[in-house]
Protein backbone atom coordinates (compact mmCIF):
# COMPACT_ATOMS: atom_id res chain seq x y z
CA UNK A 1 0.00 0.00 0.00
CA UNK A 2 1.24 3.48 -0.85
CA UNK A 3 2.45 5.46 2.13
CA UNK A 4 1.43 9.10 1.49
CA UNK A 5 4.06 10.45 3.94
CA UNK A 6 6.80 8.52 2.16
CA UNK A 7 5.65 9.78 -1.24
CA UNK A 8 5.55 13.33 0.15
CA UNK A 9 9.09 13.06 1.49
CA UNK A 10 10.36 11.45 -1.73
CA UNK A 11 8.90 14.34 -3.73
CA UNK A 12 10.50 16.80 -1.33
CA UNK A 13 13.91 15.08 -1.65
CA UNK A 14 13.68 14.96 -5.43
CA UNK A 15 12.65 18.62 -5.66
CA UNK A 16 15.41 19.68 -3.26
CA UNK A 17 18.02 17.71 -5.20
CA UNK A 18 16.90 19.22 -8.50
CA UNK A 19 16.84 22.75 -7.08
CA UNK A 20 20.38 22.43 -5.67
CA UNK A 21 21.93 20.41 -8.49
CA UNK A 22 24.76 22.90 -9.08
CA UNK A 23 25.69 23.05 -5.40
CA UNK A 24 25.67 19.27 -5.10
CA UNK A 25 27.98 19.00 -8.12
CA UNK A 26 30.57 21.04 -6.18
CA UNK A 27 30.74 18.21 -3.65
CA UNK A 28 32.30 15.96 -6.32
CA UNK A 29 35.56 17.76 -5.46
CA UNK A 30 37.55 17.90 -2.25
CA UNK A 31 37.33 21.32 -0.59
CA UNK A 32 40.90 22.40 -1.38
CA UNK A 33 40.71 21.10 -4.97
CA UNK A 34 37.48 23.02 -5.58
CA UNK A 35 38.77 26.27 -4.08
CA UNK A 36 42.22 25.92 -5.67
CA UNK A 37 40.88 25.21 -9.14
CA UNK A 38 38.42 28.11 -9.09
CA UNK A 39 40.98 30.55 -7.66
CA UNK A 40 43.38 29.43 -10.41
CA UNK A 41 40.72 30.08 -13.09
CA UNK A 42 40.00 33.51 -11.58
CA UNK A 43 43.71 34.38 -11.58
CA UNK A 44 44.07 33.26 -15.21
CA UNK A 45 41.22 35.64 -16.12
CA UNK A 46 42.80 38.43 -14.09
CA UNK A 47 46.20 37.83 -15.74
CA UNK A 48 44.65 37.96 -19.19
CA UNK A 49 42.75 41.18 -18.37
CA UNK A 50 45.92 42.79 -17.00
CA UNK A 51 47.84 41.73 -20.10
CA UNK A 52 45.27 43.58 -22.22
CA UNK A 53 45.58 46.65 -19.99
CA UNK A 54 49.39 46.61 -20.16
CA UNK A 55 49.35 46.18 -23.94
CA UNK A 56 46.98 49.13 -24.25
CA UNK A 57 49.20 51.19 -21.95
CA UNK A 58 52.30 50.34 -24.02
CA UNK A 59 50.36 51.21 -27.18
CA UNK A 60 49.43 54.59 -25.67
CA UNK A 61 53.11 55.24 -24.88
CA UNK A 62 54.09 54.20 -28.41
CA UNK A 63 51.56 56.51 -30.08
CA UNK A 64 52.45 59.40 -27.76
CA UNK A 65 56.11 59.42 -28.76
CA UNK A 66 56.95 56.99 -31.55
CA UNK A 67 60.49 58.18 -32.23
CA UNK A 68 61.62 57.86 -28.62
CA UNK A 69 59.69 54.68 -27.87
CA UNK A 70 62.81 52.48 -27.94
CA UNK A 71 64.50 54.85 -25.49
CA UNK A 72 61.88 54.18 -22.81
CA UNK A 73 63.07 52.50 -19.61
CA UNK A 74 61.46 49.12 -20.19
CA UNK A 75 62.92 47.67 -16.99
CA UNK A 76 61.13 50.31 -14.93
CA UNK A 77 57.91 49.88 -16.91
CA UNK A 78 58.16 46.10 -16.51
CA UNK A 79 58.77 46.44 -12.76
CA UNK A 80 55.73 48.72 -12.42
CA UNK A 81 53.57 46.27 -14.36
CA UNK A 82 54.86 43.39 -12.21
CA UNK A 83 54.08 45.29 -9.00
CA UNK A 84 50.54 46.08 -10.20
CA UNK A 85 50.05 42.46 -11.32
CA UNK A 86 51.23 41.08 -7.97
CA UNK A 87 49.01 43.49 -5.98
CA UNK A 88 45.94 42.70 -8.09
CA UNK A 89 46.68 38.95 -7.96
CA UNK A 90 46.96 39.05 -4.15
CA UNK A 91 43.66 40.96 -3.79
CA UNK A 92 41.86 38.65 -6.23
CA UNK A 93 43.47 35.57 -4.69
CA UNK A 94 42.19 36.47 -1.23
CA UNK A 95 38.75 37.56 -2.43
CA UNK A 96 38.19 34.54 -4.65
CA UNK A 97 39.40 32.17 -1.91
CA UNK A 98 36.85 33.66 0.49
CA UNK A 99 34.06 33.55 -2.10
CA UNK A 100 34.72 29.95 -3.20
CA UNK A 101 35.18 28.80 0.39
CA UNK A 102 31.74 30.24 1.19
CA UNK A 103 30.29 28.57 -1.93
CA UNK A 104 31.76 25.19 -0.92
CA UNK A 105 30.49 25.64 2.63
CA UNK A 106 26.98 26.34 1.27
CA UNK A 107 27.24 23.21 -0.88
CA UNK A 108 28.23 21.13 2.16
CA UNK A 109 25.17 22.44 4.03
CA UNK A 110 22.94 21.46 1.11
CA UNK A 111 24.59 18.03 0.98
CA UNK A 112 24.11 17.52 4.72
CA UNK A 113 20.44 18.47 4.53
CA UNK A 114 19.90 16.10 1.62
CA UNK A 115 21.62 13.31 3.55
CA UNK A 116 19.37 13.91 6.55
CA UNK A 117 16.30 13.77 4.31
CA UNK A 118 17.49 10.52 2.70
CA UNK A 119 18.14 8.98 6.12
CA UNK A 120 14.64 9.91 7.19
CA UNK A 121 13.34 8.39 3.97
CA UNK A 122 15.23 5.15 4.55
CA UNK A 123 13.44 4.73 7.92
CA UNK A 124 10.11 4.19 6.15
Amino acid sequence: MVNPNKVRLMTKVSSYEKKNKKKLENLDFFKHDYIGFNVFLTLVGVAFSLLLFFLADLGTKFVADMQNFVKLDFVEIGTNYAMIAIAVAIVYGILSTLIYRKKYHDSVEVGDKLERMIKKLSKF
Binding site: G45, V46, S49, L52, F53, A56, G59, T60, F62, V63
Partner: protein, 315 residues
Protein backbone atom coordinates in the same frame (compact mmCIF):
# COMPACT_ATOMS: atom_id res chain seq x y z
CA UNK B 1 -5.02 43.05 7.33
CA UNK B 2 -6.87 39.74 7.22
CA UNK B 3 -8.02 40.54 3.69
CA UNK B 4 -4.44 41.29 2.68
CA UNK B 5 -3.22 38.05 4.20
CA UNK B 6 -6.01 36.18 2.49
CA UNK B 7 -5.06 37.78 -0.83
CA UNK B 8 -1.42 36.83 -0.21
CA UNK B 9 -2.39 33.24 0.53
CA UNK B 10 -4.46 33.07 -2.66
CA UNK B 11 -1.62 34.56 -4.69
CA UNK B 12 0.88 32.06 -3.29
CA UNK B 13 -1.55 29.24 -3.91
CA UNK B 14 -2.02 30.38 -7.50
CA UNK B 15 1.75 30.61 -7.97
CA UNK B 16 2.25 27.10 -6.59
CA UNK B 17 -0.40 25.73 -8.91
CA UNK B 18 0.96 27.47 -12.02
CA UNK B 19 4.67 27.48 -11.13
CA UNK B 20 5.63 25.06 -13.93
CA UNK B 21 4.20 27.50 -16.46
CA UNK B 22 4.60 30.86 -14.73
CA UNK B 23 8.37 30.70 -14.10
CA UNK B 24 9.40 29.98 -17.73
CA UNK B 25 6.81 32.50 -18.93
CA UNK B 26 8.21 35.25 -16.69
CA UNK B 27 11.76 34.36 -17.80
CA UNK B 28 10.71 34.45 -21.44
CA UNK B 29 8.94 37.82 -21.06
CA UNK B 30 11.95 39.27 -19.24
CA UNK B 31 14.41 38.01 -21.88
CA UNK B 32 12.22 39.32 -24.71
CA UNK B 33 11.96 42.74 -23.07
CA UNK B 34 15.76 42.87 -22.57
CA UNK B 35 16.38 41.97 -26.23
CA UNK B 36 13.82 44.58 -27.29
CA UNK B 37 15.51 47.30 -25.24
CA UNK B 38 18.96 46.26 -26.48
CA UNK B 39 17.72 46.32 -30.03
CA UNK B 40 16.19 49.81 -29.64
CA UNK B 41 19.44 51.02 -28.09
CA UNK B 42 21.70 49.58 -30.81
CA UNK B 43 19.40 50.67 -33.66
CA UNK B 44 20.24 54.34 -33.05
CA UNK B 45 23.90 53.66 -33.92
CA UNK B 46 23.28 51.19 -36.72
CA UNK B 47 21.39 53.61 -39.01
CA UNK B 48 21.95 51.48 -42.12
CA UNK B 49 20.66 48.37 -40.28
CA UNK B 50 23.64 46.32 -41.42
CA UNK B 51 22.80 43.71 -38.81
CA UNK B 52 19.09 43.72 -39.47
CA UNK B 53 18.89 39.97 -38.85
CA UNK B 54 18.94 40.37 -35.06
CA UNK B 55 16.21 43.02 -35.12
CA UNK B 56 13.63 40.57 -36.43
CA UNK B 57 10.91 39.66 -33.94
CA UNK B 58 11.15 35.96 -34.77
CA UNK B 59 14.86 35.96 -33.89
CA UNK B 60 14.15 37.75 -30.62
CA UNK B 61 11.44 35.21 -29.76
CA UNK B 62 13.76 32.28 -30.52
CA UNK B 63 16.57 33.82 -28.47
CA UNK B 64 14.18 34.50 -25.58
CA UNK B 65 12.98 30.89 -25.71
CA UNK B 66 16.59 29.68 -25.58
CA UNK B 67 17.37 32.02 -22.68
CA UNK B 68 14.38 30.66 -20.73
CA UNK B 69 16.06 27.26 -20.41
CA UNK B 70 19.78 28.09 -20.15
CA UNK B 71 21.81 29.34 -17.15
CA UNK B 72 21.77 33.09 -16.51
CA UNK B 73 25.45 33.52 -17.33
CA UNK B 74 24.75 32.40 -20.91
CA UNK B 75 22.08 35.09 -21.16
CA UNK B 76 24.76 37.65 -20.26
CA UNK B 77 27.07 36.19 -22.91
CA UNK B 78 24.37 36.29 -25.60
CA UNK B 79 23.80 39.99 -24.83
CA UNK B 80 27.56 40.61 -25.04
CA UNK B 81 27.80 38.78 -28.38
CA UNK B 82 24.84 40.65 -29.90
CA UNK B 83 26.27 43.99 -28.76
CA UNK B 84 29.77 43.22 -30.10
CA UNK B 85 28.35 41.81 -33.34
CA UNK B 86 26.20 44.82 -34.11
CA UNK B 87 28.85 47.37 -33.10
CA UNK B 88 31.49 45.58 -35.21
CA UNK B 89 29.38 45.88 -38.35
CA UNK B 90 29.12 49.64 -37.81
CA UNK B 91 32.78 50.16 -36.84
CA UNK B 92 35.35 47.36 -36.60
CA UNK B 93 37.54 49.35 -34.20
CA UNK B 94 34.59 50.12 -31.91
CA UNK B 95 33.63 46.44 -32.06
CA UNK B 96 37.13 45.35 -31.00
CA UNK B 97 37.21 47.84 -28.09
CA UNK B 98 33.67 46.87 -27.00
CA UNK B 99 34.67 43.19 -27.10
CA UNK B 100 37.83 43.81 -25.06
CA UNK B 101 36.01 45.93 -22.46
CA UNK B 102 33.18 43.41 -22.05
CA UNK B 103 35.71 40.56 -21.88
CA UNK B 104 37.70 42.33 -19.16
CA UNK B 105 34.51 43.08 -17.20
CA UNK B 106 33.47 39.44 -17.50
CA UNK B 107 36.88 38.07 -16.48
CA UNK B 108 37.48 40.50 -13.62
CA UNK B 109 34.04 40.64 -12.09
CA UNK B 110 31.53 38.11 -13.36
CA UNK B 111 33.55 34.86 -13.25
CA UNK B 112 33.25 34.78 -9.47
CA UNK B 113 29.56 35.66 -9.51
CA UNK B 114 28.26 33.49 -12.37
CA UNK B 115 25.02 32.63 -10.54
CA UNK B 116 24.31 36.32 -9.88
CA UNK B 117 25.16 37.58 -13.40
CA UNK B 118 21.45 38.17 -14.07
CA UNK B 119 21.60 41.03 -11.54
CA UNK B 120 23.86 42.98 -13.91
CA UNK B 121 21.21 42.74 -16.62
CA UNK B 122 18.42 43.66 -14.17
CA UNK B 123 20.42 46.68 -12.95
CA UNK B 124 21.10 47.88 -16.49
CA UNK B 125 17.45 47.45 -17.40
CA UNK B 126 16.29 49.23 -14.23
CA UNK B 127 18.61 52.16 -14.99
CA UNK B 128 17.21 52.47 -18.50
CA UNK B 129 13.66 52.46 -17.08
CA UNK B 130 14.50 55.00 -14.31
CA UNK B 131 13.76 52.33 -11.70
CA UNK B 132 17.32 51.84 -10.53
CA UNK B 133 16.63 52.84 -6.91
CA UNK B 134 14.54 49.69 -6.49
CA UNK B 135 17.58 47.49 -7.14
CA UNK B 136 19.82 48.02 -4.05
CA UNK B 137 17.01 47.63 -1.50
CA UNK B 138 15.55 44.57 -3.20
CA UNK B 139 18.88 42.78 -3.69
CA UNK B 140 19.91 43.55 -0.10
CA UNK B 141 16.82 41.75 1.20
CA UNK B 142 16.64 38.91 -1.33
CA UNK B 143 20.31 38.29 -2.24
CA UNK B 144 22.71 39.96 0.22
CA UNK B 145 26.03 41.81 0.02
CA UNK B 146 27.33 39.39 -2.63
CA UNK B 147 25.11 41.31 -5.08
CA UNK B 148 27.26 44.45 -4.85
CA UNK B 149 29.66 43.35 -7.61
CA UNK B 150 27.05 42.29 -10.23
CA UNK B 151 25.02 45.46 -9.51
CA UNK B 152 28.17 47.60 -9.92
CA UNK B 153 28.92 45.83 -13.21
CA UNK B 154 25.38 46.62 -14.42
CA UNK B 155 25.89 50.30 -13.53
CA UNK B 156 29.31 50.45 -15.28
CA UNK B 157 28.02 48.79 -18.45
CA UNK B 158 24.95 51.05 -18.54
CA UNK B 159 26.93 54.27 -18.20
CA UNK B 160 29.69 53.10 -20.54
CA UNK B 161 27.08 52.32 -23.19
CA UNK B 162 26.60 56.11 -23.39
CA UNK B 163 30.16 56.33 -24.74
CA UNK B 164 29.32 54.16 -27.73
CA UNK B 165 28.35 57.14 -29.88
CA UNK B 166 31.75 58.76 -29.27
CA UNK B 167 33.53 55.47 -30.02
CA UNK B 168 31.73 54.90 -33.32
CA UNK B 169 32.51 58.47 -34.39
CA UNK B 170 36.27 57.75 -34.09
CA UNK B 171 36.52 55.89 -37.38
CA UNK B 172 39.90 55.46 -39.12
CA UNK B 173 40.81 55.19 -42.79
CA UNK B 174 41.94 51.67 -43.56
CA UNK B 175 43.95 49.05 -41.74
CA UNK B 176 47.08 51.23 -41.31
CA UNK B 177 45.18 53.66 -39.10
CA UNK B 178 43.49 50.95 -37.04
CA UNK B 179 46.07 50.61 -34.21
CA UNK B 180 46.08 54.40 -33.70
CA UNK B 181 42.29 54.56 -33.67
CA UNK B 182 42.20 51.68 -31.18
CA UNK B 183 44.60 53.50 -28.88
CA UNK B 184 42.53 56.69 -29.14
CA UNK B 185 39.40 54.70 -28.35
CA UNK B 186 41.10 53.11 -25.35
CA UNK B 187 42.10 56.55 -24.01
CA UNK B 188 38.57 57.83 -24.65
CA UNK B 189 37.08 54.87 -22.78
CA UNK B 190 39.40 55.24 -19.80
CA UNK B 191 38.67 59.00 -19.59
CA UNK B 192 34.92 58.28 -19.74
CA UNK B 193 35.26 55.67 -17.01
CA UNK B 194 37.25 57.92 -14.69
CA UNK B 195 35.30 61.14 -15.28
CA UNK B 196 31.75 59.83 -15.03
CA UNK B 197 30.87 61.16 -11.56
CA UNK B 198 27.25 59.97 -11.65
CA UNK B 199 28.41 56.40 -12.31
CA UNK B 200 30.94 56.44 -9.48
CA UNK B 201 28.46 58.02 -7.03
CA UNK B 202 25.74 55.51 -7.98
CA UNK B 203 28.10 52.55 -7.43
CA UNK B 204 29.27 53.91 -4.07
CA UNK B 205 25.83 54.81 -2.69
CA UNK B 206 24.22 51.57 -3.94
CA UNK B 207 26.98 49.53 -2.27
CA UNK B 208 26.45 51.37 1.02
CA UNK B 209 22.65 50.95 0.77
CA UNK B 210 23.00 47.21 0.09
CA UNK B 211 25.27 46.74 3.11
CA UNK B 212 23.14 48.93 5.42
CA UNK B 213 19.84 47.30 4.39
CA UNK B 214 21.30 43.80 4.67
CA UNK B 215 22.77 44.32 8.14
CA UNK B 216 19.60 45.90 9.56
CA UNK B 217 17.51 43.06 8.11
CA UNK B 218 19.69 40.59 10.04
CA UNK B 219 19.23 42.33 13.40
CA UNK B 220 17.27 40.53 16.09
CA UNK B 221 14.53 43.13 16.32
CA UNK B 222 10.85 43.04 15.55
CA UNK B 223 9.92 43.95 11.97
CA UNK B 224 13.64 43.90 11.07
CA UNK B 225 12.96 43.45 7.35
CA UNK B 226 10.58 46.39 7.12
CA UNK B 227 12.92 48.53 9.23
CA UNK B 228 15.76 47.57 6.92
CA UNK B 229 13.78 48.80 3.91
CA UNK B 230 13.13 52.14 5.66
CA UNK B 231 16.74 52.43 6.79
CA UNK B 232 18.02 51.58 3.32
CA UNK B 233 15.80 54.32 1.86
CA UNK B 234 17.10 56.89 4.36
CA UNK B 235 20.72 55.90 3.62
CA UNK B 236 20.00 56.17 -0.10
CA UNK B 237 18.42 59.65 0.11
CA UNK B 238 21.06 61.11 2.44
CA UNK B 239 23.88 59.23 0.69
CA UNK B 240 22.99 60.68 -2.68
CA UNK B 241 22.44 64.20 -1.26
CA UNK B 242 25.78 64.22 0.61
CA UNK B 243 27.91 62.64 -2.13
CA UNK B 244 26.18 64.71 -4.81
CA UNK B 245 26.98 67.93 -2.92
CA UNK B 246 30.56 66.92 -2.11
CA UNK B 247 31.39 65.78 -5.65
CA UNK B 248 29.34 68.56 -7.29
CA UNK B 249 27.51 66.13 -9.51
CA UNK B 250 24.25 66.65 -11.40
CA UNK B 251 22.02 63.91 -9.99
CA UNK B 252 18.40 65.09 -9.80
CA UNK B 253 17.49 64.92 -6.10
CA UNK B 254 13.65 65.13 -6.53
CA UNK B 255 13.85 62.28 -9.08
CA UNK B 256 15.99 60.28 -6.68
CA UNK B 257 13.58 60.83 -3.76
CA UNK B 258 10.65 59.82 -6.00
CA UNK B 259 12.55 56.71 -7.13
CA UNK B 260 13.40 55.82 -3.53
CA UNK B 261 9.73 56.08 -2.48
CA UNK B 262 8.79 53.74 -5.34
CA UNK B 263 11.60 51.42 -4.22
CA UNK B 264 10.24 51.36 -0.65
CA UNK B 265 6.72 50.55 -1.87
CA UNK B 266 7.95 47.74 -4.15
CA UNK B 267 10.23 46.31 -1.44
CA UNK B 268 7.44 46.33 1.18
CA UNK B 269 5.07 44.49 -1.17
CA UNK B 270 7.80 41.98 -2.08
CA UNK B 271 8.69 41.40 1.57
CA UNK B 272 5.00 40.98 2.48
CA UNK B 273 4.63 38.36 -0.24
CA UNK B 274 7.84 36.64 0.85
CA UNK B 275 6.73 36.11 4.44
CA UNK B 276 4.89 37.87 7.25
CA UNK B 277 5.77 37.19 10.85
CA UNK B 278 3.51 37.25 13.88
CA UNK B 279 5.55 39.15 16.46
CA UNK B 280 2.81 38.79 19.09
CA UNK B 281 3.51 35.08 19.27
CA UNK B 282 7.28 35.21 19.75
CA UNK B 283 8.62 32.16 21.56
CA UNK B 284 11.91 32.10 23.45
CA UNK B 285 13.59 28.81 24.28
CA UNK B 286 16.78 27.82 26.05
CA UNK B 287 18.29 24.36 25.84
CA UNK B 288 21.62 22.62 25.71
CA UNK B 289 23.41 19.69 24.14
CA UNK B 290 26.90 18.26 24.68
CA UNK B 291 28.65 21.10 22.86
CA UNK B 292 26.51 24.25 23.10
CA UNK B 293 23.93 26.16 25.08
CA UNK B 294 21.21 27.53 22.83
CA UNK B 295 19.12 30.71 23.09
CA UNK B 296 16.43 30.45 20.44
CA UNK B 297 13.89 33.10 19.45
CA UNK B 298 11.20 31.67 17.18
CA UNK B 299 8.73 33.90 15.40
CA UNK B 300 5.81 32.10 13.73
CA UNK B 301 4.82 33.00 10.18
CA UNK B 302 1.30 34.30 9.75
CA UNK B 303 -0.84 31.80 7.93
CA UNK B 304 -4.46 32.28 7.03
CA UNK B 305 -6.46 29.16 7.87
CA UNK B 306 -8.11 27.64 4.85
CA UNK B 307 -11.88 28.10 4.83
CA UNK B 308 -13.48 24.75 4.23
CA UNK B 309 -16.57 24.88 2.10
CA UNK B 310 -19.51 23.30 3.82
CA UNK B 311 -22.37 21.87 1.86
CA UNK B 312 -25.76 21.95 3.48
CA UNK B 313 -28.27 19.47 2.25
CA UNK B 314 -31.78 20.83 2.42
CA UNK B 315 -34.44 18.17 2.45
Amino acid sequence: MVKLLDFRAKLIDLYKKTEFLAVPLIKFAFAYFVFLKLDTFLDQYDSSSTFDFLSKTAVKIILSLVVTYIPDIWFTMIIMLITVGRVTLVSIEAGIITFIVLLIIYLLFLTMFREKAILSIITGLALSLNLSYVVPIMVAIFVGPVAIVPVAVGIIVYYLSGSLEGLIAMKGDGLVQMPFVLIDMYKFFISQLASNKIMLITIFVFAVVILATYYVSRLEINYAHYMAIGFGAIVMVFGFIIVNTVMKSSISIPEMVKGTLIAVAVAIVAQFLRFSLDYKKVEKHQFEDDDYYYYVKAIPKIKVPEVKKQTKTIK
